[in-house]
Symmetry: none
Subunit: 144 residues, 2 copies
């Protein structure tokens, strides 16, 4: 799979917006529309582009409150993170779970239906021994 600069430009553009026309791509990468679309065809064929999907609005899914929660952990068993993944991975509210350096050890991206639902969630899931505490940032706006 060898890609030149034009291919990478097209991929970057398509990653942001897959509905751009050949002419729009052409303007941005400096090739003709036909050349862009030929390359795009190839990028799909060789699997550089896995698929193209629609992103749905949060309020169509019903979970419209996003929260970023940082969890400092107490040092514990080495399989602790695997167990957290196991545990949080099953919960539909959990969109992402990162293990990070710095103060906090885990960062959760959650989506809940209401703040009450989040309060319940925290009450139920953040009370284990391994979790030293938690800090919540409510997302006012998901810009991207």
């Amino acid at each position: 799979m060898d890609l030149d600069q034009f291919d990478h430009q097209i991929l970057a553009l398509m990653q942001k917006d897959a509905r751009q026309t050949g002419a729009e791509l052409a303007d941005q990468v400096g090739l003709s529309p036909a050349a862009c679309l030929r390359r795009l065809q190839r990028l799909r064929k060789i699997g550089a582009i896995t698929r193209e999907i629609a992103v749905l609005s949060d309020d169509v899914t019903g979970r419209n409150i996003t929260l970023i929660v940082t969890l400092p952990l107490n040092r514990g068993r080495p399989d602790m993170r695997a167990r957290f993944r196991e545990y949080f991975g099953k919960l539909p509210e959990v969109k992402h779970l990162y293990h990070v350096t710095g103060e906090a050890d885990l960062v959760l991206i959650l989506e809940c239906q209401t703040m009450e639902a989040y309060a319940d969630f925290a009450e139920r899931h953040f009370r284990m021994d391994e979790i030293k505490g938690y800090e919540t940032n409510v997302v006012l706006q998901t810009l991207i």
Copy 2:
């Protein structure tokens, strides 16, 4: 935003594959192609579909380092966030951008190829007046 059963079907299909034709959608939901495309138009217009994006194969991005960056902002013009979205939305490193309550005002989820690339990124993009500073958390492991 009121959606009937047909709308929900179309959304579910588009979430899996946004390149289906009107005829393909029509086969699956049991309406005419034109009706499906009319609904699709509406779903985009009312924002039920936020955007449509290409998913790139992992080995094409080469971006293996994920970073969570919190940006405290100086109070500024009210269109500041729109301008940030405009600005960061164009950068392929930016996976997500949240406007949050609390200490930090913006939270960025980034993917970079190397730490040097991130240092460059920060140097180039976090030096504007509106940005008071930045705190970086390197993701050791993306658990979900």
